[in-house]
């Protein structure tokens, strides 16, 4: 690969174009992420200034393997140590999502819309698009990192730890930008590129989870950059050399991305396109058949991933139970919290609360297909054919509503079966599955928000993510702050009964169902009455 200056001409004007196009969304994204970090830091700075309180929290968290699995172990009981611990997983994931979104938006989506061909002909070098997307995405990450450093120091945290945290987030974002830069060279469609990068991110998370620090598989976490962020040990004797590891991988991936980009044709991917059937199968004769065709890939993907996760958790559950029962401190807390609940049940309840919200993300993804099908002008072919608007919405919505249910069932079934086999204890599978299924109404509310926005204010459909982010934050805050009950009540996930801990299905759950039905209905009515744009 030799570098020609001409390949990069026009990069600056492309950067200006990106900044102009994203003049609203980019500041909003960065601001949102900054708020997440500041709110995490502020919680610990202001409400956990008391060392005794912190020790209690550390003890409570460290004795709960579920927390350790998801969030990593606490390396230091100082305020900074807690901040670093709490942001070590959620931070990289959010930063990664921003990088993936920006990179795909400004490389593959751009190319698919044919704009690139236009741009290329107008004296823009062939590497300019990739370069401009990388510079803006990494720039956004570095800016975010800098703001984190400044605000952490401003909150009174030590400068070493603040710099380590900010730098870790910035470099993790740049790493994902580089990974996405490679992925967009491999595939022809932006959705395939998104699948590849999201899969990589989920793999990073799962690998780090399996290699949690209290387990014997800690070496595994070195295979995941999310693990690296943890091992940097911000506020706990920083391991600065790990930043070198990040830099080496980023540079290597960038080299690969540019190499692949120089090897391929504009618009083409490296992975070959397969031929398909010349005739439509008998399922592909109506809008439901088409929706199945368009959505099944994502459905299978989620079912497989979370079946595997169920197996993984079921496999570990025995060890976890032992850890629980060996720890009188934690047993004490449990008894205070939920009476005589089985420790394993508490563990799974925590998992479900987290996963319920993760499955809502699947619901959103499936529901947002409505908007993307409209924007891509695919839906026109159906609604100017014999498919009514309502029918078209329902066909797609079917997967947004039923899909998460199937994922819930797959997860709870694989978990309880695996645990049953490993422990040799007969399991009440129905009990586990129904404890998972009560998350359905809350997920439907989130789907309903997407549908209502789609029907009434289609341009703002993606605000659903912001609402979901709000629900996540409410949940995050609820763990640490005395939040007013009405604030908690905003999130539909607050109303899900913890059935394994003895809650029963009550009226509030019925109310959640009604809210979901209402939101979906106004969305469908709104769509039926508005212009197709």
């Amino acid at each position: 690969m030799h570098i020609k200056k001409a390949d990069y001409s026009g990069t600056m004007s492309l950067i200006r174009l990106i900044l102009r196009r994203d003049r609203i969304i980019l500041p909003v994204l960065i601001l949102f992420l900054v708020l997440v970090f500041i709110s995490i830091a502020a919680i610990f700075v202001y409400t956990y200034s008391d060392a005794v309180l912190r020790e209690g929290l550390v003890l409570q968290i460290s004795s709960n393997p579920a927390s350790v699995a998801f969030l990593g172990s606490i390396l230091d009981s100082s305020v900074g140590g807690l901040v670093a611990w709490r942001s070590a997983v959620i931070g990289p994931i959010l930063v990664a999502l921003m990088s993936i979104f920006l990179m795909i938006r400004h490389t593959r989506s751009e190319e698919r819309k044919g704009r690139l061909e236009l741009l290329n002909s107008a004296a823009v070098g062939r590497q300019a698009l990739l370069t401009s997307a990388l510079i803006t995405t990494c720039g956004a990450n570095i800016l975010l990192g800098t703001i984190i450093v400044i605000s952490f120091i401003g909150l009174g945290l030590s400068w070493e730890g603040s710099v380590a945290t900010g730098l870790a987030m910035a470099l993790f974002g740049c790493l994902l930008a580089a990974i996405t830069g490679v992925a967009v060279q491999l595939t022809e469609s932006s959705s395939d590129a998104r699948y590849i990068t999201i899969t990589v991110l989920i793999a990073f998370f799962l690998i780090r989870m399996v290699g949690w620090d209290d387990g014997q598989t800690v070496w595994l976490s070195w295979f995941s950059p999310i693990g690296w962020v943890h091992h940097i040990s911000a506020f706990a004797g920083e391991e600065w050399w790990i930043f070198g590891l990040f830099t080496i991988f980023i540079l290597g991936l960038l080299f690969l991305a540019y190499y692949l980009s120089s090897q391929r044709d504009v618009g083409a991917g490296i992975l070959p396109q397969r031929e398909g059937p010349a005739r439509a199968s008998s399922t592909l004769t109506n809008s439901l058949g088409l929706a199945w065709r368009l959505q099944r890939g994502m459905l299978f993907f989620w079912i497989i991933i979370f079946t595997l996760m169920g197996v993984l958790l079921g496999y570990n559950a025995q060890t976890v139970t032992n850890l629980f029962t060996d720890n009188p401190q934690f047993m004490n807390i449990l008894t205070q919290l939920g009476g005589a609940a089985d420790p394993l049940d508490s563990y799974i309840t925590m998992m479900l609360l987290l996963l319920g919200q993760v499955f809502a993300i699947y619901g959103i993804l499936a529901a947002l297909k409505l908007r993307s099908e409209e924007v891509k002008k695919h839906s026109e072919f159906l609604i100017t054919n014999s498919v009514s608007r309502t029918r078209w919405v329902l066909s797609n919505l079917f997967f947004a509503l039923v899909g998460p249910v199937l994922v819930l069932i797959a997860f709870s079934l694989s978990y309880s079966l695996t645990y049953g086999i490993i422990s040799g204890v007969e399991q009440d599978i129905i009990r586990f599955v129904s404890a998972a299924l009560v998350y359905t109404p809350a997920i439907w509310v989130v789907v309903g928000i997407a549908v209502a926005l789609f029907g009434l204010v289609p341009r703002l459909t993606s605000l659903t993510w912001l609402v979901m982010g709000l629900f996540l934050i409410i949940n995050l805050l609820a763990d640490f702050l005395d939040v007013n009950q009405w604030v908690l009540d905003i999130s539909p996930f607050t109303h899900v009964p913890n059935m394994l801990l003895g809650d029963t299905v009550g009226w509030s759950l019925v109310l959640v169902v009604l809210v979901a039905v209402f939101l979906i209905s106004i969305g469908i009515v709104g769509y039926g009455r508005r212009d197709i744009t």
Partner: protein, 303 residues
């Protein structure tokens, strides 16, 4: 009998007046050309006609029904090809053709095979891998394969090579023979001229002309080339003679259509040896309506 009846159709996008009291009708069995530059309101009109947009005022009837309220029922009786064809990248061309055809109530297999061969389309390729022209072909075949009363094409030959353009014309002529009605929106003038019985011209949301070509030609200038025994004099003073060039006995100019009779009477005194009269092309028509504005727009790519 009218297949499409549009009266005083008005549509705003926010404050922008996209359609201003548009009037025209399409009769059964005719090929109707709907022409105008980009952004004139062609696609907006078609989208209202297909029930995708709501009108703000005016009357619009499609196949005897209301395009907004009776959308689904009416759509079974028509086939539409949008101007910008985006297909599902994961589906093959063959699958798209079959699915859309079946949704419209099924089709004959031979008709499909014939069209695939005619348009030289490989139905096994994924839509994501097709070029713009090939995606256009998929949409055209998916429409042509159905046996319906009305076919609506929005700038159908953009992206097609000249050979495929001819294939498209052939197909439209066949539809006409079968007695089908065709509404063809276009800014490719030769295409409209070759296919359409009647046209209407839209500009900035207003219909500015409506009728058959012959009717429209009367409104414009005819190009005349004439050789005479002695040089013609006095033409330069006539207000209805334009673009005059003279080389001795050889004279070229254009003349307002309604003045041809006066012109011929005047010319005979110079001893006419030969006279060629060329009717205006649609290009001329367009330029006479849009002037420079049109010729400038023509150069810019579609966006």
């Amino acid at each position: 009998m009218s297949v499409i009846d549009i009266e005083k159709l008005t549509k705003y996008y926010g404050n922008f007046l996209a359609l201003n009291e548009v009037d025209f009708n399409v009769k059964q069995g005719e090929v109707f050309g709907f022409i105008g530059p980009n952004g004139a309101g062609k696609t907006t009109t078609l989208r209202i006609l297909l029930g995708m947009l709501r009108k703000d005022s005016g009357n619009i009837r499609l196949l005897g029904g209301d395009p907004w309220h009776d959308a689904v029922r009416l759509h079974r009786r028509l086939a539409y090809v949008p101007g910008e064809v985006n297909l599902w990248p994961g589906l093959t061309g063959g699958e798209v053709i079959d699915m859309l055809g079946k949704l419209r109530g099924g089709f004959e297999r031979e008709r499909r095979d014939k069209l695939l061969e005619r348009f030289k389309l490989d139905p096994r390729k994924k839509c994501g891998a097709y070029s713009t022209g090939n995606r256009q072909k998929v949409a055209l075949i998916a429409a042509l394969v159905s046996d319906v009363e009305l076919y609506i094409f929005d700038e159908p030959t953009i992206g097609l090579d000249p050979l495929m353009e001819m294939v498209f014309r052939e197909s439209v002529n066949e539809l006409k023979k079968e007695g089908k009605t065709v509404l063809l929106s276009s800014h490719i003038l030769s295409e409209v001229e070759a296919l359409c019985d009647r046209i209407c011209i839209i500009r900035e949301g207003q219909i500015i002309e409506n009728g058959t070509f012959d009717e429209l030609r009367h409104l414009t200038r005819t190009n005349i080339t004439v050789d005479t025994h002695k040089p013609i004099t006095g033409l330069e003073n006539m207000k209805w003679v334009h673009n005059l060039t003279q080389k001795g006995n050889h004279t070229q100019f254009s003349v307002d259509a309604e003045k041809i009779d006066s012109l011929l009477r005047y010319l005979t005194q110079f001893g006419v040896q030969s006279l060629i009269s060329v009717p205006p092309t649609l290009e001329d028509l367009f330029i006479s309506y849009y002037g420079l504005e049109y010729t400038e727009n023509k150069e810019t790519p579609r966006g």
